[in-house]
Symmetry: D2
Subunit: 373 residues, 4 copies
């Protein structure tokens, strides 16, 4: 018998009958139902995500993002964001699984008002040098390739202090998760703006090189005290690791942005990685529970996700649904390529749902339907 | 301005225009959208659960549950369960939030085949003395009022060794959560049945009185090594606590079934409580994130949930959606009343979403729309 | 070459010479020395405890303990205690390693004044029914076989409310450890006595059967919230475990008194066990780092420690030094025998020093010098 | 009555008498004693360390260390180390409390054989550019100001690959602690030497900038996976922190070398700090349990310890006993000064013994007996 055959002992296989249909009606009147009518659907053999692999090309999106600058006022939009919506997850405004992502644009000199919410946010800067954010009173300046966090419950507001160029950064949030858990709250800052402390980037200055500030007030919050992870040292850390290790067969040389107080993810609901594919490197396929949004941070390559080829270059965004096979390749023979990504692995790990599997056939590579470039 | 008014700075308030509608179409073609069109909805001021308070009366359900015994064969149904479905959560087969519950009946001498899944399960026995379950090779006998767990990934199978009376127990599972996270797996035991070890109830025998077995193999799984929590000592523990403390203003004398290795919940996704309301006690209202399914384990009383009076007696089941005000009262002037409940608090706590608030007005009591009994 | 031979590369083997002796003098004048003159001594091949196995017979000690009642006034002695002193550890007043133990006697109606110290204490009651202790305002009554704790920094005072019989209990403290670490503090209660709360034994009443009080103030102290572990349920837990498991080859059926919030030891510096030897049972020898003080709580038997036979019966106390081989036997063919013990394993475990080894020869039994009974 | 007066209720104050002396003899014959004869001594009002403040000047020690190079062969000495011995702790070969330190010299081209022990070690390099160490197969090169660890149980061997200059580094070990706990083991590598992997400094390359390698084998050991903390990035981290914070009133700008997987100390028994005193800065005095060995890593200054002025310059070593008041000053008006230090705080913290107190008088400064510079 086929492993995934529902017509076997241990699966529900009750045929409808007039009596049963009447019985189901009786149950429905008591806000009840018969488990066996839905059992095979709600207890699937393996995850059945509605999310599909999607590639969002930066060159396609950027003009539309720029257009928003003129079309809506920041103060009316709240935040001027083009969100990326998975065709299978429209009702959740999710890019994949329970993760939201979008491209936010701020014009020269613009700033947004302060608010906070139970949803956690992160940023990855695509372009512009004038971006700043104030998180719980701490001002942080961020530039291209920088990664920053705005944890659950922190007051935050953003702006662009450039005189001539817009900022475009990518937001990542766990909004769909927070709503699914009926746990979202939103609050506008009573004074609309925070008063930042005198030192810019203080959390970045305070943490580095495997040393921690000592004798200061104990940090008890469930997220990283480091609010920003600038591109240059992060990329350098990755290059150093590349000297020391061969890396993962599935991910190349890969590091996680961490909370230096725990070695764990930056926030309890979302983690983030930076990975390097050596010139010409092609990884093997694997799959795991948990959803991932990838952004090409450097170079160009192609990822094969659930058998679909998604070619990418710097700025492009794509997603991997839970339990989908995926593998990556750097198409440049001379330069390394880097992928930034964020995920819901911390959720999967905390709740005991993390599972991983290597692709067993064809030397670890999936067959692809479409043509090679 | 009203706190929860969407027409203020910090909320989205962009009016539609022909240009914008055209723009939205352009975005949609790229699997994108404008955040401000959904922002106020996906970032609500406070949780907006679709679940509503529901009371399921045991005296109404029991005849229908009993009917299933005759109408469907266990081997066809997989498990013969009448599930309780919240009118607002039908698409998830959820009783409330992301929690599933149902009443399972097993006839004298019946047994089910063994399987396992990523969803975690728990049981609370309503009636019958012949119930047994085998969890990862350990046989456990359970009777009325007993609480037992079947954690994520454990092989399990059940039966009723009584010669004359059916068993009815209540299942609680995190199936909706597991599916929402795209993390469910299901597997039928290759031999359809396990071979249990020689000692029945061994985990119950091995843990008690604040001592732990020493020098045995280290337990590294993320759930309690205690698989069963019998009624008698649990109720006794509650009565002892009642001698030592006044209890919680919102919950009376309340205890959590715990993993004795961590002091934490029995499983990473679901916790369970047993609480005692003294004769005539009426608690004050509070609300919190997280959903709860209650079962009246002893006595009779009334709970007011989101302003609705739900009178209950032993065997009845009701639910409290996330962030709904709720308070309980024991209507018996002479006997204590007990509520068993299970919840998703471990999820809320791990992910940093737990929040609680006392009802501020009317001495802690909600106004109710309907008549008093 | 013999494994433990100091005459090999990797050990110090510098012969004295006039030049070197002069050099050593030069070093001494600068508060310095040459490592190689002491290296082999301070870096031994394996632990070299100065403690030796000792058996203290209760029938020998009791008369002397009773004598103290008449000879010194409680208020002059502070506490009227006969301490047990290992011949190898006199300068530390230690029974073994860095553990102190003694027998304290309180006459009918006597009570002691309140104090606190950085050293942690525990009690095991030998005789008398009137004993009480107040620990941080909580009154606890204890009887024969009961185990109680007085953690680091808690105010405590004791007494005997019997009208006619003395109380004799055994104190266990980490005084030698606390002093060795230069960390002891002592303070007399400003009012000489505490005012206990209305409920006696409240922590015992509040914890049991693998449930924990919920919704009370969060316990953040580094020791168990349970201050007393009465004999009856503890012994019953042990008997239950004996039904479920064969037990340890070295210790029989053994349980650790635990902090139900962590599954760990009752205090960060001392742990305690209760173990049962079945009628006639003889365990195999092992050794481990860490020191142990044993008290025969029930029955009679013999332990072989570092090749010495120490026969014991109820009330007797004996010790096992770090890294000494030890094995136990119950000499009664019909009744079980129980050993209570306390140890410094929590220290060894926290600091990464715990190591264990089974005795490899003679079927796990040491040769003994003296005659068998 | 004076707080620290032993002639009060709650302290032992039993006068000797012929009867009591005879009684004490009786007790002694049973390996017992009367607690009240030693109680006030073993339960002191506050810590009574035998260690005293000591300053070891590098310019005094260096010639003697260099002399050892000629006087003893490395293979005879095991390691050629001049150890620093506190006058109050000679029997433990301790520099202070239960900490050992010494200056090790290796001539050009020399190397030592491999061994391991339960005692943990750390290194701080004073001079020489050729130093290397191999720890559990990982080769690490270290230079002046670098800090490195050799945790409990790791195979290690050292050498100097310079052609012309010696290496002098400072060893710090917890040997006295390990012996006091009867927990030391020593083993010579069966092949006398390890075979290091191909990448030098791989753990340093693999960890940095608040990112961690992902998807590699999980690190489960109780110490930092980072084996070396080079001077340059450590000092830079300290300078960055100095931009972000004012620092501690007692320690200036201070950081702890940490295990990036836990945010905790590098090893379970010893921690290490690097601190910066701004030009001319004078800190306030405080005291704490736990012992510290300081090394002047940069600049010149003076520390006042228990009322004694200890002036230091780069290379000098001094110690602070447990509970001794201490404060530091940078005597240079233009350059910052840095102190490296290691301590037993992890022990004190794990066991619950850490306590701290600010000096209350004279604006936080102790009176000193000797003259100011």
């Amino acid at each position: 018998m086929n492993t995934y055959d529902d017509d076997q002992v241990g699966r529900a296989r009750v045929a409808d009958s007039p009596e049963l249909l009447a019985y189901y009606d009786e149950l429905a009147q008591l806000d009840a139902g018969a488990l066996w009518t839905v059992a095979n659907e709600i207890e699937p053999w393996y995850p059945q995500p509605k999310s599909v692999p999607v590639l969002w090309r930066y060159r396609d999106l950027r003009p539309l993002v720029a257009k928003a600058l003129a079309m809506v006022k920041a103060e009316d939009a709240g935040r001027r964001v083009v969100m990326l919506v998975n065709p299978g997850r429209k009702e959740h405004s999710a890019a994949v699984g329970l993760l939201y992502t979008g491209l936010q644009i701020m014009g020269p000199g613009e700033s947004m008002s302060a608010h906070r919410h139970a949803a956690a946010a992160l940023r990855f800067v695509h372009e512009g040098t004038g971006a700043w954010t104030i998180v719980d009173g701490q001002k942080l300046k961020v530039g291209p390739g920088d990664f920053a966090i705005t944890p659950n419950g922190t007051w935050h507001e953003h702006g662009n202090e450039s005189h001539d160029a817009p900022v475009i950064w990518q937001d990542g949030l766990d909004i769909p998760l927070t709503n699914t858990l009926d746990a979202n709250f939103y609050e506008i800052h009573p004074e609309l703006h925070q008063r930042p402390g005198p030192v810019v980037n203080s959390s970045v200055l305070s943490h580095g090189a495997n040393l921690l500030p000592y004798g200061l007030e104990k940090w008890t919050r469930p997220y990283s005290p480091v609010l920003g992870y600038p591109w240059e040292p992060s990329y350098q850390a990755l290059r150093n690791l590349a000297k020391a290790t061969g890396g993962s067969p599935y991910d190349g040389v890969i590091m996680e942005y961490t909370n230096p107080l725990t070695g764990g993810p930056v926030m309890p609901t979302m983690g983030a990685h930076l990975q390097l594919l050596r010139p010409g490197q092609r990884t093997r396929a694997h799959r795991h529970t948990g959803s991932v949004v990838y952004t090409a941070a450097k170079g160009r390559g192609v990822s094969v996700i659930a058998g679909q080829r998604l070619p990418w270059q710097q700025g492009d965004i794509f997603c991997v649904p839970s339990w989908a096979w995926h593998e990556h390749a750097n198409l440049d023979p001379n330069e390394d390529a880097c992928l930034f990504s964020f995920n819901d692995f911390p959720v999967m790990r905390s709740l005991g749902f993390l599972r991983e599997e290597a692709y067993p056939d064809h030397d670890g590579h999936q067959p692809v339907a479409d043509r090679q470039p």
